[in-house]
Amino acid sequence: FLTFEGDLKWDHMDLTYRVMNYSPDLDRAVIDDAFKRAFKVWSDVTPLTFTQIYSGEADIMIMFGSREHGDGYPFDGKDGLLAHAFPPGQGIQGDAHFDDDEFWTLGNGLVVKTRHGNANGADCHFPFIFEGHSYSQCTTEGRTDGLPWCATTASYDRDKKYGFCPSELLYTNGGNSNGSPCVFPFIFDGISYDACTTDGRSDGYRWCATTTNFDQDKKYGFCPNRDTAVIGGNSQGDPCVFPFTFLGQTYSACTSQGRQDGKLWCATTSNYDTDKKWGFCPDRGYSIFLVAAHEFGHSLGLDHSSVREALMYPMYSYVQDFQLDPDDIQGIQYLYGRGSGPEPTAPAPVTTKEPQPLPTEAGSTSTTEEDEDETSEPTIVPIPVDPSQDACAEKNFDAITEINGDLYFFKDGKYWTRSSFWTSDIQGAFTVADTWPGLPAVIDAAFQDVLTKRVFFFAGRLFWVFSGKSMLGPRRIEKLGIGKEAGRISGALQRGRGKVLLFSGESYWRLDVKIQRVDKGYPRATDDVFTGVPLDARNVFLYQDNYHFCRGSFYWRMTPRYQVDRVGYVKYDILQCP
């Protein structure tokens, strides 16, 4: 293995990455998943962790681009150079760029992930049988709205399983229209367009307006590639048009006629002889997972290896069941070790206060008059801290919630509080059993009903309701109308008007607190509404009117308008540890 001159490496283990834009070749979720798995290749053998963020500057910024894309190292059209990355460091260092003139797949040809329909986002199955005919691409047959669809099993006639294919009539990527579909025709620069266009752009990405008039409304999105989109050529992304005429002959499929390299191509208008518009037909493409894993090796400090089987060998080759080569493992562990993790640093002295009065008296508050008096400056006396009592030493929490204006952090039968209205230091640790007798040591979630001040606690499939110290429960969450699919409740968001959202796995229910029953029409998929937050959050809670989703040491903050506007550290931002 080789490292870069001077053993360039990151000076911290918990790295962040951000995907700046997406190739139209693959569904966004497929690309995100491929990058996540590509990072996992390296985190599996080192103490490194990788967390995706959606705004601001990440350690590793990832982008797709073609030809000259801003860094002075231009790509070269289809094939040839596939991607490149920069060694660790600030700014562009550590970043990874992918050539969007390539056809990005998972290495085995076109990946058409469906949306909607009844196949839960499964990929198209080609060929599939519909009304006795075989289809090897998406079709609008059987529909009047022109939306391309496909079966997700070998026979739609038998299984009736289907989904809609990528199409600008269904959605757009990026831009400023939250995924709205194209509106045709639309006006741009005074001209009417009835299809996606690259006009007005120098990067070759196809776009459309999502209202009838871009000149007026400035609303737009990028068009996903259809399954018949061509690669490269001079009309990248446009679909093949069959039949087309070439040298006077008619072709109703891709052909290698006219080429010496045997590559298949098609025309993107009905007549190549007059229009000269063409592109390559989809082939196996390049695995975005394999290429990303290689480039992320560079981003971490590895240079090219001369071991042909190594991931860091410079030439691309598709591997079905990928395994890191010992050469790669030796290289990355030479830089970062094998999972021993960074040494803990001694905590700074923290002042702690006496325990508070009971927090759940109806109408009570967590601060009493005399408390306020005690806000005189604490004298910092270095007090040896018992790590088992120090909230800042905890890696994560069983549950986090706001009760009477204070944030409560629960862990293994202990809890800490911190006022969420003014900066105050952490109070505690207190014993859960002292405050809520009868509650188990480990809970999964808690919330306070805003109207009655009662506090609900969840552990596994059981829940308790406390009014002050008086407890009702445990009862099974079936009583709330929550089905068996919910193994544990990971968090709750109070929504006003007596409604609370309860999260479990990738779904959430809306609880009517008054009748203690979930509303009809639930559960719903979390990422339908809360897009961009981790679906495996350990804690979900409302804090300062924003929704917080925690995973590991990070939290994702979402505004009431469902915009993730911040990703940060629970320890430093929410606990406000030194």
């Binding site: 490269g232 050529g233 080429r259 001369s306 060998y313 410079p314 691309y316």
Partner: protein, 89 residues
């Protein structure tokens, strides 16, 4: 008899014309990926510096080290790959 008409070969618009000779392809590849520098190409005797650079590349990429622009070396040069140079910063 199956190919009654001679194959027409078309230059497709917008396609990077690969009119590079094998030697020009080799020189650009070796320079781009750090096996030789532009200066070496210009000042050294072209024949010697190319063979030396080819040997370096063949060794680095696990090819048979011949110092010659043979078929497997040309094939390697045309293979899809990462854009980070193999040698140097």
């Amino acid at each position: 008899p199956l190919q009654s008409k001679p194959q027409a070969v078309v230059t497709f618009p917008g396609e990077l014309l690969s009119t590079l000779s094998d030697r020009e392809l080799a020189e650009s590849y070796l320079q781009r990926f750090g096996y030789t520098t532009e200066m070496e190409v210009r000042t050294g005797s072209r024949h010697v510096s190319l063979a030396e650079a080819l040997r370096k590349m063949q060794k680095q990429l696990g090819l048979e080290v011949t110092g010659k622009l043979d078929a497997s070396t040309l094939e390697a040069m045309r293979a899809p790959r990462c854009g980070v140079p193999d040698v140097g910063t």
